[in-house]
Symmetry: none
Subunit: 202 residues, 4 copies
DNA sequence: CATGAATGAGTGTTCATTCAT
DNA sequence: TATGAATGAACACTCATTCAT
């Protein structure tokens, strides 16, 4: 079973989503096609399960990391969040890349959506536990999570060199920290206006 | 020709990458398959051209927007950058989604890479023209661009509701502004340390 | 197209319904599988078309034969009917056998039903044109047609030797003639009672 | 064992010959596939046994019915023969239909042939015991049996409504009786000529 | 004996690509 | 140059059969 998932990733990386065949996956996993179809009713189910499993593990990991930061300072929270997500995506970059490709096989939209909401909940709870009171936490949290997710994705997509990726990771933390730090004190005279402020008026 | 590109996007959206066939694209474009193959030697070439064309237009648009901000305040630059990119991706969300799916057909990695570098150059030039001097501009710029690219992608991927997307867009601007504002004045006593500083020492 | 039908029959006879594959049919027909699928959307459609075409031709042939007998004596009508049907089924016994086997591929029930009704109509019209008035013509006709159809089928199914088949054919005519002849004069004192009589009373 | 046969029929009726699988049969019969293969070496053997068993039972039933009529009047014999066969086929119409479909799995030709010959023997003996002497009994008997077999089959195949089927059954008896009654007295001046006469001359 | 997971040859069907018209 | 019928390799999936437990 694990072998099948691993094989799927390998085939995805070596052959790409177009030339991934159930036969090839089975072969690589060291089982027969028939066996593959005893585990998964069809090809899509295999991909769905692969994504589900991956996102489940990732969600748990993030939830765990969030819980560990409860009550701490917001900067540490952000750093922990970025680091956890980044590490999870980076430590097995091949898996990450493979899963990005699996869009060709299934529409993992709903899975990603659910995953996002789940992480939102965990991080919101974490930030809410902070001593620093954040106004409009829902929006701020959504922004942080979406930004972090996206930046990691973009680092992969742009195929940044390791050093560049590392730099972006550290800067992302700074960015998020600066953002939350600035939340309470909007600098007067700026053109820029946060949605929080505008929404409060509107 | 344009009809073919448009048809490709439509078919991609309606049928998904798996059930996209050259015949269907040709049909939708109002030409015969044979004609399609006179324009493009094969299916991949069609997708390559589609992506290339799209990214070329997008790059130009961003370059243009950057040039317009030369010499201005950094906040306006950021706002312009985010707005331009966001608008480009949002105004034809269907195309954006379709192109995200085209990974199944071609590995657009190199195209995206090149596109990123080109945007980097344009934004770096823009930021360099600002009165505010930014230390370690390359890294800062890379972070900004990568973050902006990624966040937009993530908004699509997470399928955020329009209001949420809008909120994230505005907050992203705040975030980038706060980040650049904080660059000159690293708050003492923080755990967080920017990669710039650490790299300068390392 | 005709080649495909012919090939289907050949493959059906040589390999049987289980080992009939679209590839084999195409091969035998001298075309590629792809071409086969341009004529017929799927395997079942091929079989449906084959049956439809065959039954259509057969129905026309019978209708034609029936028309030719209009106004004649009933004995000649019966002989013509049996002979026409018998000849049609026998002259290409391979086709007949092949079609009997195609039940495995499609449920040709509706086709057969419609064919039967169509023949019923033709024969009823023919018998109605006879000088001999037949009471309860609908039932008599149904019996004649059903019996003739069935007997031919049974001769094939039982794999009777040619001489036996021929004998049965001739006797079947006698039987049908004797039946119609006896219709007007039910022999007194018989245990047997025709449904006509019983229905007339009931 | 009986459960397996019953299950086979059920699966045949519900899924049709194409989607009948050994696994499904085993499942329905409440045993494992392995067990199924201990009873029957392969799928064909199962079908062969099913047909054999059915035809054996049917033959016995007919033989029995024939014996019961020995020495009686020919009309009663015919009625008994038709009724016995008709009832056997009709009382479990589902089984009858299922067996008609099993042609896809095995060529039951030889079984049917043997069955026919066996019935021929039984009915010939019966008719021979009648007080009425039938000339050319072999041919007459073959005709009667073949006609009866076929008519029943045709009633199923044409999917006649119950009332129609019943009418045909009664008329079939009349027909056979009329046929045998007319055997001794060939009506002068008819075009029709029985094969008996023609063969005797030829 | 009974089980049912594992096997893999075989099948229906698709679709990128070609080429005669 | 445009066409679209023809091609056939490739694929997802099935199912009769085996055999370790």
């Amino acid at each position: 079973m694990d072998a099948v998932f691993e094989a799927t990733i390998q085939v995805l990386l070596v052959f790409g989503p177009r030339r991934l065949t159930t036969t090839r996956v089975a072969e690589r996993a060291g089982v027969s096609v028939g066996t593959l179809y005893q585990y998964f009713p069809n090809k899509q189910a295999l991909f769905y399960a692969l994504n589900e499993r991956y996102l489940e593990a990732l969600a748990e990991r993030i939830e765990c990391a969030c819980l560990a930061q409860h009550g701490g300072p917001i900067e540490t929270m952000i750093q922990a969040l970025v680091d956890t997500y980044w590490k999870a995506k980076t430590e097995r970059a091949d898996v990450t890349r493979a899963l990005y490709q699996s869009v060709a096989e299934i529409d993992n939209g709903p899975l990603i959506e659910a995953f996002g909401r789940r992480v939102d909940a965990a991080t919101t709870a974490m930030f809410a536990s902070s001593k620093t009171v954040v106004e409009n936490l829902a929006t701020v949290n959504l922004t942080l999570v979406t930004t972090i997710f996206g930046t990691v994705r973009s680092v992969f997509e742009r195929n940044l060199r390791p050093a560049e990726g590392e730099a972006v990771r550290q800067e992302l933390i700074s960015m998020c920290v600066a953002y939350t730090a600035a939340l309470g004190t909007p600098p007067a005279g700026t053109i820029v206006e946060t949605s929080l402020a505008s929404q409060e008026r509107g």
